[in-house]
């Protein structure tokens, strides 16, 4: 028996990364509380149940490497596992070239140092094939902000007098932000919610714009039309700092509120009211979720949203948006190495994503595997990811995995993806390994230390690459003896520029820069990080690349306007990816306290639509798109638009949303996947089709 010790670290049961105090007895976490020194938090229920997760769900963890032999799993040693990998990778490299060995990192690769390590490994191995989940979230915003400011525009909620909650439900995705926003609401902050669902925020909002999915870009242009015509914009800021105002004004002329009503289904008067409230209340912020990153025209919608931010003088304003550098570990991995070591995949269809994130688009990987063009990919290592559930078009993902000669999955559990692998490796959790973690929306990093001994033969993710680097003799760009050496190298570079000791002294998070606002007013040398030094509502660069240089709007491929024929067969509009407070993506489904609060996947259907389809709450229904079908119970509600159907996020089996989604239709600019604004139809499942065995577990 030992005493209870309390360790300060960070909860990574979801990406916001709240500071936590973990109470540990005999290497078992027994209690988790918010770390009061951290600016991120308080924790939500997911953080509180970390001990329960260890006592329940984690009992099924992988503890040893497993090799598939004649379709059966056989326990092997790490030594054997590494030997197997070395033999396979060497053979594939010799036969097809180094790029045929690829890696896919799940869960926010740009936020942790793993992407830095793997990229350096790949440089030594000679493969540009490092992929990640970037196309599923955030980078639509990221690239749009980069094109507009050369910086990321993060909403600053403190001091905000008006907040647009645009395609977001922070109760499920960033719980502590929702807490803060609601407290501000009671102190008079105005809310405008833009969502086809009547969320908590929509219900409590001063104005709710219930729009047609996939028309956010048009809505932004409609609001801009009102703001420009009624001269509600910040003239001084626009004159000095905005490039392309006149061209944008000309573009917006055609997007009158009446015209936008036709496109978006939002009444013109409401568009006017929202535009006026947002433009005349200062400072005002826009909290944009990740939804638009999964819509074909999301980049342009995000550009339109930033035009609203910039024209109203809220760019780089406290209570508006804080501008900060876009920094990813994968990108800075290209520093400190000779230029020729930096590799890029051939014929990348979306080079902008690679340019800003340092990681190319994963959809291209699937395409390369399936077509073997421009070269074959034959082996794949998947770490921290479960693409069978989380990537669009599950059948395509499975087909691609099936085509590979050798698949390695490193994870905590035998996931749906791991089941399809040839070799499965046991991984440590965020409480069991040392990791450098980067925050979105604040200039802060944290050095997460291991506070628990890992069980069985679980390895930290980085160790795999250190070992493979040695054995494959390709660690020339990994000049580190220990993981600390590597982390010290990263921390020593811009923008962090710190010693590892500094980071260690701040387990709650280390701020590497001070947040500052309105630098365009105070700093005589200020320029935005764009070619012109201004906020580029009109971008020459976009024009050169052959894209629309202005914020714009086009109908998505499966919209009722673009494809009325398809709409005859699939009359409803599908949105997927609804986040739950109780789960992160495909995780946490077997933790009793969490599952009890979100027991089974249910598809949300409007009460009127359900009546017409003879569907009642609790009935099993089938949702179909041209890509596939899912089966789950119906949740009949008046809280969703009558032409919209919402399928929840990342359930397994017959409830897997990604049986419906699309990896053939992409945002042309950065490759975002089509997981929302798709055509679908719903019908009641026939008796016998609805067996309880088809429900996800």
């Amino acid at each position: 028996m030992s005493d209870v010790r309390v360790e300060k670290t960070v909860c990574l049961f979801c990406p916001p990364g709240c500071g936590i105090d973990v109470h540990i007895k005999d290497n078992v976490p027994i209690k988790v509380e918010s770390n009061l020194d951290s600016v991120v938090g308080p924790i939500c229920i997911k953080g509180e149940v970390i001990p329960e997760w260890y006592q329940t769900e984690a009992k099924n963890r992988l503890l040893h490497p497993l090799l598939k032999v004649d379709g059966r799993w056989k326990q092997i040693s790490w030594e054997q596992a590494l030997d197997t990998m070395v033999a396979k990778f060497t053979a594939i490299k010799e036969k097809y070239g180094p790029q045929a060995v690829a890696t896919y990192i799940g869960q926010v690769a740009d936020l942790h140092d793993l992407s830095y390590i793997v990229r350096r490994f790949n440089m030594g191995f000679g493969s540009p094939s490092l992929y990640s989940v970037h196309q599923t979230c955030w980078w639509g915003k990221g690239t749009a902000h980069a094109m507009t400011y050369g910086l990321y525009s993060s909403p600053t909620l403190i001091g905000s007098k008006c907040c647009i909650i645009w395609a977001a439900n922070p109760i499920g995705s960033v719980p502590f932000a929702a807490d803060f926003m609601t407290v501000s609401k009671t102190q008079g902050t105005k809310w405008i919610t833009i969502d086809p669902r009547r969320t908590f925020f929509a219900k409590a909002s001063d104005i709710h714009l219930q729009l047609r999915p996939g028309t956010d870009g048009a809505l932004a242009l409609g609001m801009l039309n009102v703001i420009i015509n009624e001269k509600l914009y910040d003239e001084k800021f626009v004159e000095k700092w905005v490039l392309g105002f006149d061209k944008l004004a000309e573009r917006c002329e055609q997007y009158t509120p009446e015209k936008v009503e036709e496109i978006t289904w939002v009444p013109a008067d409401k568009i006017r009211a929202a535009a006026r409230l947002y433009a005349t209340t200062k400072p005002a912020s826009i909290f944009q979720g990740n939804c638009l990153d999964n819509v074909e025209n999301g980049f342009y919608a995000s550009r339109g949203i930033q035009a609203l931010v910039a024209l109203t003088g809220n760019a780089d304003a406290r209570g508006g948006a804080t501008l900060m550098p876009i920094f990813t570990f994968s990108k800075i991995a290209d520093k400190l190495v000779p230029e020729e070591a930096v590799l890029k995949p051939k014929d990348d269809p979306w080079p902008l994503l690679m340019e800003y994130s340092g990681i190319p688009a994963g959809a291209a990987m699937n395409e390369i595997i399936l077509t073997e063009k421009p070269y074959p990919i034959k082996a794949l290592v998947i770490q921290r990811g479960n693409p069978v559930l989380s990537w669009a078009d599950t059948n395509k993902v499975k087909k691609a995995l099936d085509k590979l000669e050798f698949v390695v999955v490193m994870d905590y559990f035998m996931t749906e993806t791991a089941e399809l692998a040839d070799l499965v490796l046991p991984a440590t959790t965020f409480l069991e390994q040392q990791m450098l973690y980067n925050y979105v929306g604040r200039p802060m990093v944290v050095l997460i230390k291991p506070v628990l001994e890992p069980p069985g033969e679980c390895w930290p993710d980085w160790k795999l690459w250190f070992e493979l680097g040695k054995r494959l003799n390709c660690n020339q760009y990994m000049p580190w003896k220990t993981i600390e050496d590597c982390q010290a190298e990263i921390a020593g570079m811009a923008p962090v520029n710190a010693k590892l000791e500094d980071l260690k002294a701040h387990p709650e998070g280390y701020f590497y820069a001070k947040r500052a606002w309105k630098r365009w007013e105070t700093d005589p040398n200020w320029r935005f990080n764009t070619p012109s030094g201004k906020v580029e509502l009109y971008s020459e660069r976009l024009k050169e690349l052959g894209f629309d240089p202005l914020p714009g709007f086009f109908e998505v491929s499966e919209s009722p306007v673009k494809n009325p024929e398809l709409t005859k067969k699939y009359p409803l509009i599908l949105i997927t990816g609804l986040r739950s407070l109780y789960f992160l993506h495909a995780m946490h489904r077997s933790t009793p306290s969490l599952r009890a609060r979100d027991q089974e996947p249910m598809v949300e259907i409007n009460i009127e639509t359900a009546r017409n389809l003879n569907i009642e709450s609790g009935d099993f229904v089938i949702v179909e798109t041209p890509k596939g079908r899912v089966q789950m119970k119906a949740a009949v509600t008046s809280d969703i638009h009558k032409n919209v159907v919402s399928v929840p996020h990342c359930w397994a089996g017959m409830a897997n949303q990604n049986l419906l989604t699309n990896d053939d239709l992409h945002d042309p600019l950065w490759g975002g996947l089509s997981m929302r604004a798709l055509a679908c139809r719903v019908r009641k499942a026939f008796p016998g089709q609805a067996s309880p065995f088809t429900v996800a577990t």
Partner: protein, 221 residues
Amino acid sequence: VKKIPREELGQNIGAAVADWDKEKLVFLVNEGLEAGITSMEITNEILLPILQKACREIDAHDITFPELVLLADTIKAALDLLIPKIRASLSEGKARGTIVIGTVKGDIHDLGKNLVAAVFESGGFRVTDLGRNVSVDDFIKAAKKEKADIIAASTLMTPTLITMEELMKEVKARKLKLKTIIGGWATSPEFARKIGADAWADDALEGLFILDQLMKELRRV
């Protein structure tokens, strides 16, 4: 005077609170008052039980914090109307004790504190609300001026915990004959013990219950 059955009033008020509909809630409360139901009855028998249920639900994670915040903010609109009436009905001598309450310096949030102040008043205490962002000095001055039995301090933000600690030190150093109670999102029973506060409460209703105990202890001294 229109007769409204109390049960129906309770149900209607419950629905208005669930819809965060302040206007409707205030209308219903006025309707109840006109029908002869006292402000104390509406507060203690209808509004506080709704709040109590919500506090139980947040502890069990059956509702989220934002839902609790909007619910409490809605109820506050009714209490703003009812508390002056309760205050008027209690003569000075009859008050069960005197409290000065505030959110400590550095914290600009006061929703929770406002609600706590209202609940304490509805429980028959004389409450002086110092508002938000209150310095240690102001707490002490007000406590002396009002001859307070209890100082109640709250904070939502962790960086302000230090102010709370200073307040407790100052109360001890000046040997003030009063009791202290703390609460708020950033605090915990452990923290209260650590800084030497006499009590910690999880929510307004628990706080009201603890006030009675603190008053008893004071009298014993």
